[in-house]
Each structure stands twice: as structure tokens, then as C-alpha cells.
């Protein structure tokens, strides 16, 4: 963006309703705003300070070449500097010019200061009634071999769950992604292996998390995802993915659920017994105009995805899954921020349980899955007195959350920014058969529950953290 005085006024003034707004610059001002008429021809480019990062990678981001003409206030220069910083490989990046061999010629000098590029992205850690301890880590090297490749590896492991027949969980993930490109395509690949148990209620009331009331399905999944992404505009990203998994499921010998009256009903394990294959194609569209991805003050974030698993993809599961998630952020006059988060999703067809909507992923007060593995038998709290405690994996899901964030500080030394936030919302999960069930109450056809969170989000020198009540509840059997 060309940073004219008019642009400065437009950027910095809107909140000052009563301010005395200077007049727009005159025509003569606009004419003068062209780098003082200083124009140089780049004779060569020198890159300094890069011990690990390839020079070619830096030059590609800068997008200037010998022979190009630059002005003193060339917008490409500031954008190039910020793009270098945005790569995440450098603590600082500066562009400058020194005299060249001929008058009007310059050497463009790019000075970079490299930084560590190993990132801890997630630390799944917790305990529940069913699993004494699970823990793991997801670590990325964002500048692998200095080529801008992102290599991520993660694992999660657990003790043997207290559910009869369950096995200790192990999840492994390996992901590689090409360097981020503003123009052009970015390739990614992801390999996943997981071994663990999913728990299905065999007896007892729906709100009882006692692991003795559950049976275990032991499932092994091995596969991967290949993706190609493209940045369509400053705020729009599209991703196409092809996925294939080999699944092996060992079902328990007890396959009926006994109700309180002694009647038995077959348990829907939602996965094929023995070996099976899952193949799908997915398309995801992301619109992101937030002012900040961590502590947004305004803007919106919309993610719409559609996944189709068909025999044409060598899949034995045939289904269509659509998910739309949106977040809108409204700045309030007192500096606070109101966030509205919505989710709608539906599955049509025969999806395995791990591709359905899991209540722990919707309810902030329950432990979420890690690497697709669930560690808990905790049902939803059922604050509304519906049949939600009986629902774990469903085909239809919706959630609406309101979040109120209050900035606590800004520009402190170690803590750049901090927000205290409170979120409150409602979610519903159901299946088409439940929806159509005649004679059932609304709470049985469309089970819903309240969810909430209260906590602190921190943007710090060493990373980004959320300390919240829901976070604690997700990790402890409370």
C-alpha cells in the first residue's frame, strides 16, 4: 500500500468523532508524494545475515531483481520487509541501498537476523475418569533445511483406559507443507497413525461417566492427506485435499446396551468391523479479515468445508460432510470486543464415528480429542434437561457462542497483549432418525446443552496461551 498522508489520515482517524479532521491533501500534494522523484536502478542484490535460510528463498519473497527500478518510497519495499518478517524465520529484516557503479545505480542490501523456528503448537495433556493420564506434544520446524518447508511431528499417548478391553492410546502425526506463497500453490502432506479405543455405553444411566458402564472398540487408523492450497486474495484461501486411511476395528464381545428396564438394544459402533478403507476428497474455503488471528478486535473468519467419501476414492464408507464455521468480531466503544461464533455441520451417509461431530469438540466443558482420539467417558452436563447426555457422535451439529473480551493490557514488556474473556453459548447435536422420531419431546429430538468459558488469552514473547476454566475442565475429571 502506498502510504500517502491521506492514507495515514484514513487509517488513524476514524475513531475520533469530534476530532478536527484536516482537509484532504491538495492535487499538488498528491503529485509530490512520489518518492521525491528519486529513482534508482538495482544493479545487484546482496543478502546478509542468513546462515540457515537459503538466499533464493529470501529473494523470492522480496520479489525485486537486478535491472528493476525502485523509488525511494516504493511500496514493494515495505511489503517485502513485512513479508520476510511474516515468514517467521527472522527477528528482523531491513532493506537498504548503497551507491552502485553508475550514477542512478544501487546495490539493494537485505539484512536479516535469523531466529529459532521450532514451534510447539499443541500440548495435549489431561486426565479423566476413563483415562488416568494422556499427554503429548506437537512440534514444528518451520524452516526445514532453510528451504521454508514446514515439518511437523506430534504424538499423544495414554495409560490403559479403565474401560473393559480398552488399549492404551498412541497417536502419531507427521506433516510437511511447502513454503507459504501469496501467489501460486502451496503443497502439503500429512501422515497419521493412531491406535486407541473408543468407548460406547453398555449399561447404566446416560449421565454416568463410570468407565465400568462402557465397552471399548479398539481402532487402528493409518493414512494420510495430500493437500494443495492457493491464496486467492489477501483474505481468501482455498484448500483441496485428498485423504486415504486404512482402518482396523476390533469390536467387543458385548454388543448390546442394557437399559434400566432390562431391555437390550444393539450398540451402534459406527465403524466397520475388521479392516476397512476410507478415501475422500475435500474442499475448504477460508475467508479471514480479522485484525489479528489471536486477539482479534474486528473482522470476520469464515471456514466452509465439504468432504465427500465415495467408492470412487476407494472408500468403503460413503458420506458427504459439510461444515461451516464463522466468527464475527465487533469492536465496542469502550475498547471491548464482542465475538459471535457459529457452527453448522451435517453428515449425509455412512461416516465412521471419528468423522462425525463429537460432543467433546462442541462443548468447551468437555475434553476435546487429540489426534482424533477420545480419552473420556464424560457426557455433556445436560444443563437444559434434554437427552444430550446420551449423544456422543452425531451427524448433525450446531453451535452458537457469544464471547465478550476485555483487553487487559497492551505493549507490556513480556506480555504483548492480554484479554480476559467470557464466552457463553448453546449447542445441539442430533441424528436425522432422532429428529424424525414421532412422539418424542423437542429435547429428545434435538438435544442441546449450554457451554461456557472464562479465562485469559495471552500473546507473549514466547508464544500464545489460553488459560481458561474450560481448558482446565478439559484436562481434569471435574
Amino acid at each position: 500500500m502506498r502510504f500517502t498522508p491521506l492514507a495515514a489520515l484514513l487509517i488513524f482517524l476514524p475513531s475520533l468523532a469530534q476530532a478536527q479532521v484536516p482537509a484532504a491533501p491538495s492535487e499538488s500534494t498528491a503529485e509530490l508524494s512520489s518518492g521525491f522523484g528519486l529513482q534508482y536502478t538495482i544493479e545487484r542484490i546482496e543478502v546478509r545475515g542468513n546462515r540457515k535460510t537459503r538466499t533464493a528463498l529470501i529473494l523470492r519473497e522480496v520479489a525485486l531483481s537486478p535491472g528493476d527500478t525502485v523509488t525511494a518510497d516504493d511500496a514493494r519495499v515495505e511489503r517485502a520487509r513485512l513479508r520476510l518478517l511474516a515468514l517467521g524465520y527472522f527477528l528482523d529484516a531491513r532493506l537498504s541501498m548503497i551507491k552502485g557503479e553508475r550514477r542512478g545505480g544501487v546495490v539493494l542490501v537485505i539484512d536479516v537476523e535469523e531466529r529459532g523456528t521450532i514451534v510447539v503448537g499443541a500440548i495435549p495433556l489431561g486426565t479423566s475418569d476413563a483415562t488416568t493420564l494422556w499427554g503429548g506434544m506437537d512440534v514444528s520446524e518451520r524452516n526445514f533445511l532453510g528451504r521454508g518447508l514446514s515439518l511437523s511431528a506430534g504424538f499423544v499417548s495414554s495409560t490403559r483406559p479403565k474401560v473393559d478391553g480398552a488399549e492404551p492410546a498412541l497417536g502419531l502425526s507427521l506433516r510437511m507443507a511447502g513454503p507459504p506463497r501469496v501467489h501460486g500453490l502451496s503443497l502439503s502432506g500429512n501422515a497419521l497413525f493412531s491406535r486407541g479405543s473408543e468407548f460406547f455405553r453398555a449399561r447404566g444411566p446416560s449421565d454416568d461417566p463410570n468407565p465400568a458402564e462402557f465397552v471399548a472398540v479398539n481402532v487402528r487408523r493409518a493414512g494420510g492427506v495430500l493437500g494443495v492450497g492457493a491464496v486467492l486474495s489477501r483474505t481468501t484461501y482455498v484448500l483441496a485435499e485428498a485423504r486415504f486411511e486404512a482402518v482396523r476395528a476390533a469390536l467387543p464381545s458385548l454388543r448390546d446396551r442394557t437399559s434400566g428396564q432390562g431391555a437390550a438394544q444393539p450398540i451402534a459402533f459406527l465403524v466397520r468391523e475388521g479392516s476397512s478403507r476410507l478415501g475422500s476428497l475435500a474442499l475448504t474455503l477460508v475467508l479471514d479479515s480479522r485484525t489479528d488471528p489471536v486477539l482479534p478486535r474486528a473482522g470476520q473468519h469464515l471456514v466452509v468445508s465439504l468432504e465427500a467419501a465415495t467408492p470412487a476414492c476407494a472408500s468403503q464408507y460413503t458420506y458427504l460432510k459439510a461444515t461451516a464455521q464463522g466468527s464475527l468480531y465487533f469492536p465496542l466503544s469502550v475498547g471491548h470486543v464482542l465475538g459471535v461464533h457459529g457452527l453448522l455441520g451435517g453428515v449425509l451417509g455412512d461416516a465412521p464415528y471419528f468423522d462425525r461431530f463429537f460432543v467433546g469438540d462442541l462443548n468447551l466443558l468437555l475434553p476435546p480429542r487429540a489426534f482424533g482420539i477420545n480419552f473420556s467417558t464424560q457426557p455433556s452436563r445436560d444443563f437444559l434437561g434434554t437427552a444430550v447426555a446420551d449423544h456422543r457422535y452425531d451427524k448433525l451439529a450446531g453451535r452458537l457462542l457469544l464471547e465478550y473480551a476485555v483487553p487487559l493490557w497492551q505493549r507490556h514488556r513480556f506480555f504483548y497483549r492480554g484479554d480476559v474473556f467470557a464466552a457463553f453459548g448453546i449447542f445441539a447435536v442430533t441424528n436425522p432418525d432422532d429428529l424424525r422420531r414421532g412422539g418424542a419431546s423437542l429435547g429428545q429430538r434435538l438435544p442441546a446443552d449450554l457451554t461456557a468459558d472464562l479465562g485469559l488469552r495471552l500473546d507473549t514473547y514466547i508464544g500464545i496461551f489460553t488459560l481458561s476454566v474450560a481448558n482446565a475442565l478439559g484436562r481434569l475429571p471435574l
Partner: protein
């Protein structure tokens, strides 16, 4: 009830750990020259400390450096400014003529061009406010207390560009929690060296001592 009481206890524990928030850095109070002439309030103030030694050296880069100074006048009993005035200055070093060219844009579209031999002179032109008009006196009420709030930015970055950079840095997964285990609120942690990319390369925030507007 058991859950609710535990939830409340957890919330209280969390609130206790938050404690007193680290306050935002309070702007320094700096002596400011105030005068009234031709029906306007004029301000004189030095902001040369916006530049540190490396910044002064970077003026030789051949690329334009910008200084944006904003002066707002506030009633002590109101949060919103009564008026604001600003000035943007551009400094560029001519690599072949070996001199600094300085251009100042002021409110009302006035543009002033100067040339200097040294970086110090260029910095002074960009950061010294000398009888800088802030507001028409008829917008100030006699007997009311006012103070000036001053903010100076070196090489400000547009909000749009800043958001782009932050987005690339955080590079979040395109899928949300319901899709893959990420979370809007939950166990979201990311540990890395996280350099602050600010709205500008350096920022100076000052306030003037308060004064009571005299009767006219």
C-alpha cells in the same frame, strides 16, 4: 450443583491468578510550550527521542522514513478528544547527491520541502513541533481543564498490512475445533519466539501537564 460449585471455584482461582493486570505503559508527562495566537492554540514540543541511534543510521538507507505526529487536546473530564491535529514528515537520503530531503505535510494540505546536510537536522525537522497549531480557541471553554495527548510514530504500518503479517505469522489451521481438535477457546497453546510487529517501528506517547483555559 457439584459441577457448578467446582466451576465457580475454578473461576475464582483463575481470577486470583490474574490478579491486578499489568497496566498499559502510562504516557510520560513532558513539559510543553502552549501559546495562543491568531485565535489558535499553538504547541511547542521536542520529540527527538523518537529516534535512537540505529534509526538515525537507517535514514541513510535510501528509502523513505516517515514520522507521524498526532496531537490531541482532551478535556480532563472527557475521554474523547476535543480536537486533533497531525503532521507527517518524510525523510529520504539522496544517495548520489548525499543530502537529506525532508517533506512535511500538515493539516490543511500545506506541504513544506527542505534539504539538510545531516541526519540530526532532518530528525529535528520531523520531530520538533514549533508553534504547531492544534485547535481554534473558540472550541475551548474558558475555566475548563485541558491536557494534550501526543503520539509520534516512526514508520507507521497500515492496520491492513499489520493484520496480514500477523495472520501469516500465526498461520492457523484452516479447520476449527469441531473439525480437527483446534479450539477457539480451549487448550490453545503455541510456543515460539514471537517478535512483536507493531503499528510502527517506534512509538512515543506523551501527555502535557494539565492547564485551565484562561478567560478571553
Amino acid at each position: 450443583m457439584r459441577y457448578l460449585s467446582r466451576l465457580l471455584a475454578l473461576a475464582l482461582a483463575l481470577a486470583a491468578t490474574i490478579g491486578t493486570p499489568a497496566s498499559a505503559q502510562e504516557p510520560e508527562e513532558r513539559k510543553t510550550g502552549i501559546s495562543r495566537r491568531d485565535g489558535r492554540l499553538l504547541v511547542s514540543l521536542g520529540l527527538q527521542d523518537l529516534f535512537r541511534t540505529p534509526d538515525a543510521q537507517r535514514l541513510l538507507s535510501g528509502f523513505t522514513s516517515r514520522v507521524l505526529v498526532r496531537v490531541a487536546i482532551m478535556r480532563l473530564d472527557h475521554a474523547e478528544p476535543v480536537a486533533q491535529s497531525m503532521r507527517q514528515t518524510e525523510i529520504v537520503y539522496d544517495l548520489w547527491d548525499e543530502k537529506f530531503r525532508v517533506r512535511r505535510f500538515e493539516a490543511g494540505g500545506k506541504v513544506e520541502m527542505r534539504e539538510t546536510a545531516t541526519a540530526t537536522e532532518a530528525i529535528t525537522l520531523a520531530t520538533a513541533l514549533d508553534a504547531f497549531p492544534v485547535v481554534d480557541l473558540d472550541r475551548l471553554e474558558p475555566g475548563v481543564s485541558y491536557r494534550l495527548s501526543v503520539r509520534a510514530d516512526l514508520n507507521p504500518i497500515s492496520q491492513e498490512l499489520l493484520a496480514d503479517v500477523r495472520r501469516w505469522l500465526a498461520r492457523p489451521s484452516p479447520r476449527g475445533r469441531a473439525g480437527s481438535g483446534d479450539s477457539f477457546f480451549g487448550s490453545f497453546v503455541s510456543i515460539f519466539v514471537n517478535p512483536r510487529i507493531d503499528e510502527s517501528e517506534r512509538q512515543l506517547r506523551l501527555v502535557s501537564p494539565a492547564w485551565v483555559e484562561p478567560p478571553r
